[in-house]
């Protein structure tokens, strides 16, 4: 009943089981139970996007998902983006373009950008801004973030044409 439940998921490609109460959000469990603190907490009410993770391929705000709902789901978090110690194109572009200051919003922006580029390899500025509308940043003023997304898209595009 109100007792803890075992939840089986796949996180960043590997099987992960955890014990949680129904009242715990996925964000809480990722950070506090599983130590995956790359996913950030901003607002806890779905508005800022800092806690964005991918659930069965779809971007979701993990503060508005109950951890028990993740049973059987495939999750991807910011920890799963870099490959063998190498930053991926989006991370690299954010770093090179100074698209972050305090960095709290960054994991969410990067996860959300990954889903954009997966479906649209050549997004326009309008499309980038619309897709990232659910992610808030109080430091950068967004422009450098948009440029970084454009740079990452261009780099991937160039690599795919080689």
């Amino acid at each position: 009943m109100k007792t803890k439940t075992v939840v089986s998921t796949t996180i960043n490609g590997g099987p992960v089981e955890f014990l949680c109460e129904p009242r715990q959000t996925l964000l809480e469990v990722l950070r506090n139970t599983l130590g995956l603190t790359g996913t950030k907490e901003g607002c806890s009410n779905g508005n800022c996007g800092a806690c964005t993770v991918l659930m069965d391929g779809q971007p979701v705000v993990s503060c508005l998902v109950l951890a028990v709902e993740a049973e059987g789901a495939e999750l991807r978090t910011i920890e799963g983006v870099a490959c063998a110690g190498h930053l991926d194109d989006v991370q690299q572009a954010f770093l090179e373009g100074a698209a972050l200051q305090c960095g709290i919003c960054t994991p969410g922006f990067i996860m959300q950008t990954e889903t954009l580029l997966e479906h649209n390899s050549t997004p326009t500025e309008d499309e980038i801004r619309f897709h990232l509308a659910g992610n808030l940043c109080r430091c950068t003023g967004y422009d450098k973030i948009v440029r970084a997304v454009q740079a990452a898209a261009a780099k991937r595009q160039a690599a795919s044409q080689k």
């Binding site: 009943m1 109100k2 439940t5 109460e21 129904p22 009242r23 715990q24 959000t25 806890s44 009410n45 779905g46 508005n47 996007g49 964005t52 659930m55 779809q58 971007p59 979701v60 705000v61 503060c63 508005l64 998902v65 109950l66 028990v68 709902e69 049973e71 959300q112 889903t115 309008d126 801004r129 619309f130 897709h131 990232l132 509308a133 659910g134 992610n135």
Partner: protein, 298 residues
């Protein structure tokens, strides 16, 4: 968050039994984008949360020549990802594109939007415009309620304890018909509507005369409204500035908006008139097979 039990039934009958046995102390959970936050801030404290996303009946999404069946728990991204809906039930796709941001759209359902029963809910005017009928299941069986009769006050609706919204059904798309939803917000995206308008029109084959129209209004009364007189006076009329203006005036006559931080009562009345005309015009263009100059977020 307070402690609660979690159930995820796989059969509709089980969900109804659980809901009615727990009479009043259980809440259905669809995408959770309203419910989880309401529980977090302590506005709602159900003893049991019943996840309805595993019920096949609530996941139906089927558009064919008999009409559209939209399961109550289907998330927005599946709705605007469906080509038939984009083409034949465009207003619904328009609504789903602007509910929250992309992350919210991954989870938020139209059923949840309707059952949360907010006056400014962005999908409800479209459900009204498209002639949606809510299919409700409960311990006493199944009943149907027109979309415009579902909400009865801010946060209140016709659901009785133990009842669940199963799906929303829409009539088959008619030839020479088109629809649109648009809201006015001070920001470009991620905001609550100052006014929201959904409209659907059917034209005659010449594309000049309106055969029938339906207009739904949001954020201008305690519940979303069907602008019945405005809709009916358009039937048989030629599409022109005067007729659209008259419909807009008739729509303005039935609203009772409030003044709040998003706008005054007078402002909302004015914006309603402007939006009704623009949305009707866009629905007419779509009915003529033209593409409209509209991009969400601008």
């Amino acid at each position: 968050m307070h402690a609660f039990d979690y159930q995820a039934p796989r059969k509709l009958a089980d969900a109804i039994t659980q809901l009615s046995q727990l009479n009043g102390s259980a809440r259905p959970l669809a995408g959770g984008t309203d419910l989880i936050d309401q529980m977090r801030v302590g506005r709602l404290a159900p003893q049991t949360v019943i996840d309805v996303k595993k019920l096949p009946e609530l996941n139906v999404l089927q558009a064919d020549d008999t009409g559209l069946r939209l399961g109550a728990a289907v998330p927005c991204y599946r709705i605007y990802g469906n080509e038939q809906i984009v083409k034949h039930y465009s207003a619904l796709a328009d609504s789903c594109h602007i509910i929250g941001g992309v992350q919210i759209q991954s989870r938020a359902s139209v059923g949840g939007n309707l059952c949360n029963s907010g006056p400014a809910a962005d999908s409800t005017p479209s459900l009204i415009a498209l002639g949606g009928v809510c299919v409700i299941a409960g311990p006493q069986g199944t009943r149907e309620v027109a979309a415009e009769a579902f909400c009865v006050g801010p946060g209140k609706n016709v659901l009785q304890p133990g009842e669940l919204l199963v799906e929303i059904r829409f009539p088959a798309a008619r030839p020479y018909s088109g629809s649109h939803y648009r809201r006015f917000i001070p920001r470009n995206e991620m905001d609550i509507a100052v006014v929201g308008v959904g409209a659907a029109v059917e034209l005659d084959p010449s594309g000049k005369t309106i055969v029938s129209a339906r207009i739904g209004l949001g954020a201008v009364a305690p519940t979303p409204l069907y602008a019945e007189a405005a809709s009916q006076m358009l039937a048989g009329q030629e599409v022109n500035e005067t007729t659209l203006q008259q419909a807009a005036d008739a729509a303005k006559a039935i609203i009772s908006p409030i003044t709040d931080m998003r706008g005054t009562r007078e402002y909302r009345i004015h914006v309603t008139g402007v939006l009704v005309q623009r949305v009707l015009q866009a629905a007419v263009q779509r009915a003529r097979g033209e593409t409209i100059d509209y991009r969400p977020g601008r």
